[in-house]
């Protein structure tokens, strides 16, 4: 056997590692469920998931619940990207803007998105905007912070070089600062996506009629553990899918 094949075999085994870890996780879950009544088995959960795909739970099917949550997360995410990148660039680029506004941001940043819920209800009511607002607060912070660090930590040699090569202020922003900070911005966007999913559960506590968070709250009220597990698995799976897509996108837009 040549050296290449010797190395190729362990590499193939390495690819199976995620599958092995999933199997181990399911086994532990199954064993734990056998020991107590407080946890449904993976098989029961899978059966419930299959049933919920076709039969309505709380008046709509599972895919409707997923879609409702997804729309809230993505709407908030789009707003968070626009606001986070804009403010992050301003914080990183303008010393004056940074000194003027950053202390306020630092003051607001540690407040958890959930703590805003009462105020948001008072301001925006209990409709869709309030749910999107909670997700927005959760998503905007990682994007803003990462954009700010990406811009402020950009090697000054790049800026000096671009200036001396003839770049004006606009070209500096579009041809140097934004592409230079892009890896950091993308990291912020990736974190923000997960953060948005975390917040949507809290947001759907506000008089929602559909959504995965709502499903969890309803199932908790009726003591339906299997449905809670189904919703939790779906949140994890959708987020995993988005993270995977994001990693692929990162390779395309940021190949360096």
């Amino acid at each position: 056997m040549n050296g290449f094949s010797e190395r190729a075999a362990p590499r193939r085994l390495l690819r199976l590692l995620p599958l092995l870890s999933l199997l181990a996780f399911l086994s532990v879950w199954h064993l734990a469920a056998l020991c107590t009544d407080l946890l449904a088995t993976p098989l029961d959960t899978a059966k419930a998931l299959a049933g919920m795909l076709f039969f309505p739970t709380s008046k709509v099917t599972l895919l409707h619940h997923v879609w409702a949550s997804l729309c809230r997360v993505l709407a908030a995410y789009a707003l968070a990207i626009a606001a986070g990148v804009l403010l992050g660039v301003l914080f990183g680029w303008s010393r004056r803007f940074h000194d003027y506004c950053y202390p306020i941001f630092e003051l607001l940043r540690p407040i958890p998105p959930i703590a805003w819920i009462p105020l948001i209800i008072m301001w925006l009511g209990i409709g869709e905007p309030s749910k999107i607002a909670v997700c927005f607060i959760g998503s905007v912070v990682p994007i803003l912070v990462n954009t700010y660090f990406g811009v402020s930590r950009l090697d000054p040699t790049y800026l000096k070089s671009a200036k001396i090569l003839g770049a004006g202020q606009r070209a500096l922003l579009t041809h140097v600062i934004l592409p230079g900070a892009l890896p950091s911005i993308l990291t912020g966007m990736k974190v923000a996506l997960s953060s948005g999913w975390v917040c949507v559960i809290a947001a759907e506590m506000i008089a929602a009629r559909k959504g995965l968070g709502y499903l969890i709250i309803r199932s908790m009220e009726s003591g339906d553990m299997v449905h809670i597990l189904v919703a939790m698995i779906l949140i994890g799976s959708v987020n995993f899918l988005f993270s995977w897509l994001f990693s692929k996108l990162e390779g395309v837009v940021c190949p360096w």
Binding site: D155, T157, Y158, K160, S161, A162, K163, I164, L165, G166, A167, G168, A171, H175, V176, P179, G180, L182, C254, P255, W256
Partner: protein
């Protein structure tokens, strides 16, 4: 009227009580390759920061073609000691960066890109990003990007300091070829006396702080220079003797 491309007159820079550069006056002729050498910490980088307009002098003036130097209207370029190739651009895009910013016509950009990449042996890696090429190739990209503009005045701050000796020799020849083909006026700062003697038509030797010009040595050896020739060694020893502080 002087035939100098760049005129530096009574250039002085101090930081509070500390006088770093004291009354430097020299000319750089059109198309000339001028090296500046001096002991470590004598203010070579300060001189470059003034010549590139990053800093303003305490006193004195710098003129290009008889006009006060202004990077906005004059074609200046700078090669830093550390690599400044943009990692988000390919080799070819890096070389074209300055030309595109200055809105050169597309045909001229294409022609100069070919010319510079050919001279610096970058054709085979033109589609690659900087993390995919060697440190020496990366520094060649930066040098090519500057020369592609055919700058009025090109400043270089020990661009080979991070490279090992075999790449240095190769790059020194490439830089001389570019200087000849573009006709750009170059000022090259280095602490490596052998490098200065290999490259320069004239060499300015700086003193310790407060820094003044100790000597201006014309090096009239033919190119390519033989670093082992007695004449080369004699000039190198002469400059070393001037820089010696011990």
């Amino acid at each position: 009227m002087s035939d100098a491309k760049v005129q530096v007159r009574q250039l002085t820079k101090g930081f509070g009580e500390l006088l770093v550069l004291d009354n430097l006056t020299f000319d750089v002729r059109p198309g000339e390759f001028l090296c500046v050498v001096g002991p470590t910490g004598c203010g070579k980088t300060t001189l470059l920061n003034l010549l590139s307009s990053w800093w303003t002098p305490t006193q004195g003036e710098i003129c290009i073609d008889g006009r006060a130097m202004d990077p906005k209207t004059q074609n200046l370029s700078f090669v830093f000691q550390e690599s400044s190739a943009f990692p988000w651009l390919t080799v070819e895009q890096n070389v074209q960066f300055g030309m595109k910013e200055k809105r050169f016509p597309p045909e001229l950009i294409a022609q100069r890109t070919r010319e510079v990449m050919g001279l610096l042996d970058l054709e085979s890696v033109k589609e690659k990003y900087c993390h995919e090429i060697s440190a020496s190739a990366e520094q060649r990209v930066v040098i090519g990007r500057s020369f592609a503009l055919h700058p009025d005045f090109l400043l270089m701050d020990e661009p080979y300091a991070q490279l090992d000796i075999k790449f240095r020799l190769h790059l020194e020849d490439a830089i001389l070829a570019l200087n000849r083909s573009t006709g750009s006026t170059c000022l090259f700062v280095t602490h490596n006396i052998e490098e200065a003697v290999y490259l320069a038509q004239r060499c300015i030797v700086l003193s310790n702080k407060p820094t003044s010009i100790k000597a201006v040595r014309t090096i009239d050896l033919p190119y390519p220079r033989d670093t082992c020739s007695p004449e080369f060694i004699a000039i190198k020893d002469e400059i070393t003797e001037m820089i010696k502080w011990w």
